[in-house]
């Protein structure tokens, strides 16, 4: 249990001292996960909403595939991205491997099915009369999509939260394609693994706590906009 206590005090110390090493790790984490999430959301939300609203033969299969994407092992995605961007891979000439760019690519791929899948579920849960109503009012496909996403906003928001949670806490893929290079591609999770491996459980815990604090604050801010909806069951 000591590890928790010492981890906690170490975490607080690290944070208030603005240790540049720690600050760099935090900022790389936020930057990589933030951009990746943005990419995943920009593609995933419209696509998920579209799938939620449309029927076509084989939809069942597409849905199962999308949900399977949620269980796509991040390490496999990491490996995949690694091979793509490796020197001998098709995109080797970009020299993105062991940079934050490759990490962003991997994390976008990881979070995308989560965002799209949960958005789809949320949209499917919206009252079916909305669709008829929107059509009757003369909305275009795009306007229907947007209005439905707005109605399902809590679910869509949670899809983004889930995507964020998955990538900010992910370690295998970023380790593989980022290389955990100190000062460049080291993020909170890879730092946790590094410290754990070296037996520094206290420091590992403190990085974990920092990570959780960040996630909590981000969630809290995101949910704030949904406060009314959240407690609106009156």
């Amino acid at each position: 249990m000591d590890a928790f206590i010492s981890g906690l005090s170490e975490a607080i110390e690290l944070l208030i001292s603005f240790d540049p090493y720690v600050m760099n790790i935090i900022s790389v984490s936020m930057m990589v996960s933030g951009i990746a999430l943005l990419i995943a959301a920009i593609i995933g939300i419209p696509l998920g909403a579209f799938l939620g609203l449309t029927n076509f033969p084989g939809k069942h299969l597409v849905v199962a595939l999308l949900y399977t994407g949620m269980g796509f092992p991040p390490v496999v995605i990491g490996l995949f991205v690694f091979i793509l961007f490796s020197n001998v891979g098709p995109f080797g000439s970009l020299e993105w491997l062991y940079t934050t760019r490759a990490m962003i690519v991997a994390q976008s791929v990881i979070s995308f099915p989560l965002v799209a899948g949960f958005t789809m579920t949320a949209v499917m849960g919206v009252n079916q009369n909305l669709l008829l109503q929107l059509k009757a009012l003369g909305a275009t496909r795009r306007q229907i999509l947007w209005a439905t996403v707005k109605e399902a906003r809590l679910g869509v928001l949670v899809s983004v939260i889930a995507g964020f949670g998955a990538i900010i806490s992910e370690v295998g893929a970023v380790m593989m394609v980022g290389g955990n290079i100190a000062g460049k591609t080291r993020v909170l999770t890879t730092a946790i693994v590094l410290e754990t491996r070296q037996g520094n459980f206290g420091l590992a815990m403190s990085f974990g706590l920092i990570l959780l604090t960040i996630t909590f604050i981000v969630n809290f801010i995101m949910l704030h906009f949904q406060k009314r909806k959240l407690i609106g069951r009156d």
Binding site: N87, E95, L97, Q198, G199
Partner: protein, 257 residues
């Protein structure tokens, strides 16, 4: 921002990185030459694979046979010996197999084998085809002990640090490089060295620049400078002193192979 040629990517194994040696030496190299070294820490096999695909400029690993093959296949220019440390056999503090009383390595390994067979202890192997694992496998073979499929033989498939943590928890026997053991000694209180100092237990580290003829993108110039840096007398001196302050003994020895 930064010039591409000023960055050197080195792939190495966890045991090297975790010892902290690189953190001490690489900044000196950086100050002297202006090169920045990106260290990628992976398994031995993965390090060699990264070298084969040209994703690293230089490798620092400890699997002599594999390294030679790497050079022979044209992926590396040459293997330069840098340093060595040694392996130690670890066991639980109560040492149920009485390995610490063994007279030679053969007897030590046999005692571990015996206690495992009796079901009174286990052995934690890295099981990841790393330098350490390859060495351990050679030893069982050398003394004609067949560990294939044995219930007491746990093949972990993990890095050195993780393997030691597991052995510590399971009160198992294991083999480790001295550096990793010393650096983790404080957090693995159930483990102690039960056998050491045998010629067969040396662990040589080599450094290999990736062949620019195979991968033209590699930073061969910088790689060569790093090789020269590592074999330089003052740096070899630093290697031999590294760890004394903290552990009372050196973790690595300068090497002329």
């Amino acid at each position: 921002s930064e010039d591409e040629t000023s960055v050197l990517t080195m792939a190495t194994t966890t045991s090297t990185e975790d010892s902290g040696l690189l953190d001490e030496l690489l900044p000196i190299f950086g100050d002297e030459t202006g090169y920045e070294v990106d260290v990628i820490t992976v398994g031995t096999g993965q390090a060699l694979e990264i070298g084969r695909s040209g994703d690293a400029d230089i490798l620092l690993v400890h699997a002599k046979e594999l390294e030679k093959e790497f050079v022979n296949d044209g992926y590396g220019t040459e293997r330069f010996p840098v340093m060595y440390n040694d392996f130690v056999i670890l066991g639980p503090t109560e040492d149920p197999a009485k390995v610490s009383e063994a007279n030679d390595l053969d007897e030590a390994m046999s005692l571990i084998y015996q206690i495992g067979k009796e079901g009174d202890s286990t052995f934690s192997s890295r099981g990841d085809k790393s330098g350490t694992h390859v060495k351990e496998t050679t030893l069982w073979e050398e003394f004609q002990l067949d560990i294939e499929g044995k219930e007491w033989y746990d093949s972990l498939g993990q890095g050195m640090g993780d393997t030691l943590i597991a052995a510590n928890e399971m009160r198992a026997y294991s083999i480790s490089d001295r550096g990793t053991f010393l650096s983790m000694e404080d957090s693995i209180e159930n483990l102690q060295i039960v056998f050491e100092d045998d010629d067969m237990l040396t662990n040589p580290y080599g450094i290999i620049p990736v062949n620019p003829d195979t991968h033209e993108n590699v930073n061969y110039e910088a790689a060569n400078e790093l090789v020269e840096f590592f074999v330089r007398d003052d740096i070899q001196q630093k290697i031999s002193e590294f760890g004394i302050e903290e552990y009372g003994q050196p973790l690595f020895f300068p090497n002329t192979d």
